[in-house]
Subunit: 282 residues, 4 copies
């Protein structure tokens, strides 16, 4: 998790052998340092196939997920531990460095209330057990605050830090996302400021999840804050142009937020990578 990478949702949300091949080849073509793989169905991923692909193309990788309702930590921490353990093992088998994302709940999990102490206790317990297991496998374990509509549990960088410091594992890290920060933080850079001690990974996603540089995110402010805290983690471009129906409800992507892959890769990628160079981040 360093350098400039991309979420493979640009090319597939299905990590079959065919999807994996297409995504890894595309990422290599665009000279990415790493990729993020959505681990939505860990048991059915051919880990050896992915590991070979990554090695062949000299790409590093990490995995991310949100949890299915039956394994929401707030409700059933034991089920969450089983699910996360399986995902961590698959992550290790694939030769990936980290498991991150909404590791603390479901995408779209909302009780209609602020998080209760019992919910947060359950989440902390599941994350701690999973985080310890990740450590034994040499895997970093991240949590990504997402906006108020996608969870009621952890919306801001400060809330993410609070959970990480409560657990106290040194392989746990904060994973921010500019799309969510644009809604939740007081100023484009504030999540970076709040999370500085634990931030190792950031999704560079535009305000509408479309083509980076064409929305309302203040990229100079974000990059300047990253440079100022001495950020050395991974920068991952994320745009949502291939969204399977089972994710569309939680993520609420109804409209095409970018015309096509070419619009993102020809405009958003040079923009984000150029700014990262301007600020000395890559």
């Amino acid at each position: 998790m360093e350098g400039f990478g991309v979420h493979t949702s640009m090319w597939t949300m299905d990590w079959s052998r065919e999807g994996a091949t297409r995504a890894v080849e595309a990422a290599a073509h665009y000279e990415m340092d790493f990729i993020e793989i959505a681990l939505l169905d860990a048991p059915n991923v051919d880990a050896a196939h992915t590991r070979t692909l990554l090695e062949k193309h000299g790409l590093r990788a990490l995995c991310s997920l949100g949890l299915p309702k039956a394994a929401w930590p707030s409700q059933d921490p034991e089920a969450a531990i089983v699910h996360l353990t399986q995902a961590i093992d698959k992550t290790a088998e694939m030769g990936c460095e980290a498991l991150t994302g909404v590791t603390y709940g479901g995408i779209g999990e909302r009780s209609g209330q602020p998080p209760t102490q019992a919910e947060l206790d359950n989440v902390a317990r599941a994350l701690e057990v999973a985080g310890r297991h990740a450590k034994t496998r040499g895997i970093l374990f991240g949590i990504e605050p997402v906006n108020r509509y996608e969870t009621h549990l952890i919306n801001t960088g400060a809330q993410g830090v609070e959970m990480i410091e409560r657990i106290g594992l040194d392989n746990m890290f904060l994973h921010l996302d500019t799309y969510h920060m644009n809604i939740e933080e007081k100023g484009a850079a504030n999540g970076v400021l709040a999370g500085r001690e634990h931030l190792r990974y950031i999704h560079l996603s535009e305000s509408d999840r479309g083509t980076p540089g064409w929305g309302t995110c203040d990229w100079d402010e974000i990059y300047a804050a990253l440079a100022a805290i001495g950020f050395t983690g991974g920068l991952a471009m994320e745009s949502f142009i291939n969204m399977p129906p089972e994710l569309a409800y939680g993520l609420s992507v109804w409209r095409p937020v970018a015309r096509d892959e070419a619009e993102v890769m020809d405009n958003g990628l040079p923009f984000l990578r150029g700014k990262a160079r301007q600020y000395g981040l890559i």
Copy 2:
């Protein structure tokens, strides 16, 4: 709907005689030109009481709402027409100028799919009948696009314009909201650009719905675009610090987004009003 006003959710979400009195007196204290009243329970509002209060304080007003599930136009346009007609009548009785808001659906209405043609046809039918009724009562009738998580029907200024132009009533108008624009539009000013022919009202709401000026909205860009299109409609500050549980799920306000009323009124109000003067909008 001209000048600078405020959504009365600053002081109450309950338009009882007591709530109305408190809100109108507070708005008058802050020298507002108008107020917006949330018409969540029209039948139980004492219209004469509000009318007298408004006249006493020389305040103009408009009403807003979202529709209950039983009256979602996409599903049951006839029920929606009944609900909207009742609200329009109450609006007129209160001496208010307009009914606006999510008049085309529920706050939080999401099918998990893009809007279907049948849903949009139903919405158009309900809005047209309600809009004609509003016209007979001398009431302006608005639609407010809201973000992808609060509806799947109308998220952008362009979509709002499309619906308004389809119906073709001259008392219908576009009502934008900077909070939603920050998520949905390609650039802070783009909703204003797309909606210029029909825009008569705008919510000035910060990116986290907290204290205006302390978030990620680019206020200069928004105000400059309003000035450039020659906007002469109403500017309404909106912050969510008094949210009843029945709205919290749809709006997903779990955290206190501002410390208290004083934080908003002492910081956000002078900031927004000062910028409006700087750009010649009031």
Copy 3:
């Protein structure tokens, strides 16, 4: 003056036959709609050569200048009229559409005092005579406000409008420049707002006159305001990478503000042209 063009200082500040050929070919290569030619030494320009070049490449053009000290309108309006008349004639002979720039003074002209009424009267007299002459030749005649350090006469869009309206010629226009606006206007869009009735041309120049998109200019705010006023004039990229010593003092470009031409053309041009398309300006 419509579409997207470039100031030829990108390639030469010497409008000899050789310089003209290099600049026109380069502009055509980058598919510009028009070019701006610095008319620093009008008598020695081979007008027929330039006209033929422009026709061959299907490029439109306009000319710009600042006045030498001996022809400062504030001090010697008659000398200024002679100089401007000669430049207007050459502009017409070259087949160009307009003469613009610091047509009201010298670049670096500063008295150390606010402009006096006598200075402004002299300027108005010279501009009126020159403007009338331009009209007989079918040439548009512009004035470009520049920042406080480059003139004490006209620094803001509002001051430019005042001069244009005082003179009252319909072939006179306002020519803004984002670099100067960044220093002088209250908000990135305010010059556009103040100048809306007379604005036909704008220099897109970064805050340090280097690579557009890599400085402090708020390009979304600028483009949004242009779109909102219905701007249909010319957009001209300007960066200073070839500055002859005789201009360096007035313009105070001591440092290389961009690495080289490639940095500007590979980064700044796609950025500016892409945003212009995003806002429907080209």
Copy 4:
């Protein structure tokens, strides 16, 4: 030099006993932590009077200056050393903490060329001797990069750092100014990033030197970068509303950039102080 202060040009540019009294009382009224005093005529300042005033009001202070032509370090380092030594002694006698500003030249010093090695060597020699003297008096000694029109010697944070590191005195510091950064740096925060190791003082001055918050400076980006580097130095509001003629040429302030003191103090001060609190800087 910590906390929030103000340049006393808000109230006087004449540090007579009368001017000093008016300025100190005004600064105390606005609850400033410190003031900056323009030391334009050190020999005629009544140091004991100022020291008593500062002690009475519990205000800290620092001094600033630009050098007269006869004492430009680039041309006559020995004369500069005499001038700076005198100013440092007066600074110490007044009970001030630092001498800063354009300590390396004249405001408006421009050769029309990039700085030569001989000029920079002269500057370094003068600053080193003056800096050592300041150290013996317990005085911090700063250099403030200013824009290309006010000097050709040191325009950016990076150039300031280069000079400080060349000299290598631990009582020397970088003093940035947002007005100059807005013109010279690649991004609002870049001077802060470049200067992070040496930055102890910053002028908060709007893009037109008028009312802070009403111009083109990106204040969130600036404050976020300050917070991110862990800035603990002084924040000083600066607006130019009282400019004596002898400074007007170098600073080129022809127009009233703010209506009056009240406009700045009622709008700019709460804006800047509020943002400083939002970012945890005071």
